[in-house]
């Protein structure tokens, strides 16, 4: 093994660099054109991308199939929204907050930069990670169907908690008048960070341990790979980013109730994950863009044809076809290797390709 030279590193960085620049250019154009609808569309892609990638980290990489992640999103959304709600709105809509919370308001800015929103998002994400750590200590000992059912239970518990913590969440009533901080830049900065982190985790020894214990727990343990640490790590990190997505969602839609964070959303995210390919970072990106884009395109077809509801049917059929003919999703576990785009000699000496194990 040769150590990578500076030239090699530059070559590797060129591909992702070009992609990020292209994305940046797209965002600048959208921002300058002031097209709120298409900005909203791209923001939706970004939020779902964070959700799908973080779910991939847990479900795809470790094979511990969680159905409870939307619960983390709900916690992130509510926590950050309670924190950023301006004082006068708090008195109006959340009059029964405990005093220490009633006085906090993360609506401060540094110049025009909403530091409070960043802080609230981080606090929410860290708190949710802590919850995930506690939950994960118990649930990550389970495998297969058991973990799916247990995490589903977690989702239901969170929903019931949100309904009944009336003083904090307004219960079943819609939590409204959240300040709309979320814009293109917030979403895509977080999305890029998520992509980077998830990608790095995949290539790290921890990531390899995740794969090893997923494919064959006994063999992995027999060569000294512990099962619990990689699982727990994946669960907590993915909860962190799911909570971030929740915070972004809350400050984008600006009104929501516990009903939003339930089965519908859970399965929408899982669909994107499965269509793209569990275990593939670029698969998650493809799956998200594909499903969000297709939903929008089909919605546009509904209006002139008057075939309302057709988009749901088409998506369902597509999903079934993918499950039948490409069981591992469009990309399986393969990656579109952006880092080899500009590498001479086909990129030998780079990091090993993950090939489809099946």
């Amino acid at each position: 093994m040769n150590l990578p030279t500076q030239e090699r590193i530059l070559e590797r960085a060129a591909g992702p660099g070009v992609a990020v620049l292209a994305l940046g250019l797209l965002l600048i154009i959208l921002q300058a054109a002031g097209l709120a609808f298409w900005q909203g569309f791209v923001i939706n892609i970004g939020i779902f991308l964070i959700l799908v990638l973080s779910l991939n980290l847990s479900n795809g990489f470790t094979g511990v199939f969680s159905l409870g992640h939307i619960g983390f999103m709900a916690l992130g959304a509510y926590t950050s929204a309670i924190l950023t709600l301006p004082l006068h709105e708090k008195q109006e809509y959340l009059p029964n907050l405990p005093t220490w919370l009633a006085g906090t308001h993360f609506d401060f800015r540094l110049g025009s930069f909403p530091v409070g929103f960043l802080a609230a998002t981080l606090i929410a994400a860290l708190l949710v990670s802590l919850v995930a750590l506690l939950v994960g200590l118990v649930l990550m000992r389970l495998s297969g169907h058991f973990v799916a059912v247990a995490t589903l239970g977690f989702l239901v518990i969170i929903r019931v908690l949100l309904f009944n913590a009336d003083n904090l969440t307004r219960g079943s009533r819609t939590f409204s008048n959240v300040t709309p901080y979320t814009n293109l830049w917030w979403v895509w900065a977080w999305a890029l960070l998520t992509i980077y982190i998830v990608w790095r985790v995949k290539q790290s020894p921890m990531g390899r341990a995740m794969y090893a214990q997923r494919e064959d727990r006994w063999s992995a343990q027999s060569i000294g790979i512990e099962v619990m640490p990689p699982r727990l790590f994946a669960f907590v990190v993915s909860a962190f980013f799911t909570a971030v997505a929740g915070s972004l969602y809350a400050h984008f839609i600006t009104s929501f109730s516990p009903t939003v964070f339930y089965f519908d959303l859970t399965f929408k995210v899982i669909t994107m994950l499965v269509v793209g390919g569990m275990g593939s970072v670029s698969g998650s990106i493809v799956g998200t863009v594909l499903i969000v884009g297709l939903s929008e395109a089909l919605r546009r077809i509904e209006d002139p044809t008057q075939l309302y509801g057709i988009s749901g049917i088409v998506l369902a059929v597509l999903f079934i076809l993918i499950i039948i003919f490409r069981r591992d999703g469009l990309l399986g576990q393969r990656e579109i290797a952006l880092d080899r785009l500009f590498m001479k000699g086909g990129g030998t000496g780079g990091e090993p390709y993950i090939t489809n194990a099946d």
Binding site: A36, F163, S176, I253, S255, S257, T259, A297, I336
Partner: protein, 394 residues
């Protein structure tokens, strides 16, 4: 090879969404038409209310256009389905403002959809009339361009409470769906008016949204030492059938009282004759024989257009919303948003088929009477027309 197929797939998707971007925006209107947006959840959980509302609104637009339009211009009514998905709802609001360039928006029969779309429409400074979202808090939550075409939940809950107190007795029972804002508010307004009148709630109970089994609640009600004179059940349209049927099947025969969530054909098709003895407050009785002149005319027109009678009062509310807006545009004499808003606020004794609409100063929730419907012989019949004596604060 596989990569190529996949790349084609992605390109096709992007192409499709790009295609979608251009044509739908224009709608079918002429250059000079007045564009009005109609946001409705035509599919999803609210569709049994939103679909009739959208049909009613379309009928009104057709009539107005046939009669020469408003200010000599035709109305171009642009409908988008929001799928009862809040992300889509928020996007549709932006679509109305930015791509369809409408001058006003009407639609929706539920609070969540209005709150998800309202801020965008408010920020664009366009008038927004909700056909059937009955939370009286909506105008303060959204802003000064927001209007209701229907009464607030505090009004219908007070009407139900007063009627039940006088006619059924002062020992009540309250059950509500704790998963939804509408039912939670309705239940709490009912409780506040009923106890104010001197009534006692023998039991207050709740269930999870979309529950299908109410045996736990029924067991608790049956175990009461004294049986209540009536049951007030605040339920969503998709729950009313099962909850009523299960109460009756368990042998609980006292009247069941509810709000306008009961105004769906589902209650008759699901609960069947078990629905007899149900009383609920709503906007109008859609009955060709018992209704007012306006309702009879509306039902005939609706039947001619769609081949069946209006499903419920939300059809009439959609219809009224369009006429209410058209009336305001006419009086404003222009399509300027602020002028329309001012004209809407000055609306006085506008005679809609769901009742006469007047906006009191500083209120964007109309003062309207409430229709109480009684289900008898497997049919909706007019129980009473009520104007509540006192209404709980929103």
């Amino acid at each position: 090879m596989k990569y190529k197929i996949f790349a084609l797939f992605v390109i096709a998707t992007l192409f499709l969404s790009a295609c979608g971007a251009t044509p739908a925006g224009g709608g079918g209107g002429t250059q000079n038409s007045i564009k009005i947006g109609g946001g409705f959840a035509l599919t999803g959980d609210e569709s049994s209310l939103d679909l009739p509302a959208a049909n009613g609104a379309k009928l009104a637009v057709k009539e107005i256009n046939a009669a020469g339009g408003v200010l000599g211009r035709q109305i171009d009514f642009i409908i988008h389905d929001t799928k009862y998905d809040m992300s889509v709802t928020a996007q549709v609001a932006k679509q109305f403002v930015e791509q369809d360039k409408v001058i006003a928006v009407i639609g929706f029969t539920d609070t969540d959809s209005v709150l998800a779309s309202g801020p965008t429409i408010q920020a664009a400074g366009l008038p927004f009339i909700t056909a059937g979202a009955t939370s009286p808090k909506i105008p303060t939550q959204v802003g000064d361009m927001m209007f209701l075409a229907c009464f607030g939940d505090n009004v219908q809950a007070a009407a139900g409470a007063e009627y039940a107190f006088k006619n059924f007795g002062k020992n009540g029972y309250l059950l509500w769906d704790k998963g939804v804002e509408y039912t939670t508010l309705l239940g709490s307004y009912f409780k506040s008016r009923f106890t104010e009148l001197g009534g006692t709630l023998l039991l207050e109970d709740s269930y999870d949204d979309k529950a299908t089994d109410f045996s736990a609640q029924i067991a608790k009600a049956k175990a009461l030492p004294q049986q209540p004179d009536f049951y007030y059940i605040a339920a969503m349209p998709y729950n009313v059938g099962p909850v009523v049927k299960q109460f009756r099947d368990a042998g609980l025969t006292a009247p069941i009282v509810g709000g306008d969530g009961y105004d769906t054909p589902d209650i008759l098709s699901v609960a069947g004759s078990a629905a007899n003895g149900v009383w609920f407050s709503t906007h109008a009785l859609m009955d060709a024989s018992g209704g007012t002149e306006g309702i009879k005319k509306f039902i005939t027109a609706y039947n001619k257009e769609y081949g069946h009678d209006p499903e419920n009062a939300f059809a009439a509310l959609g219809y009224d919303s369009v006429y209410l807006l058209a009336d305001a545009i006419k009086r404003a004499g222009s399509t300027d948003a602020q002028a329309i808003k001012k004209a809407l606020e000055e609306t006085k004794d506008f005679s809609g088929i769901t009742g006469s609409i007047t906006f009191a100063p500083n209120s964007h929730v109309p003062q309207k009477g409430v229709t109480l419907i009684s289900i008898k012989d497997d049919k909706f019949t007019l129980g009473a027309e009520v104007v509540p004596e006192k209404v709980p604060a929103p």
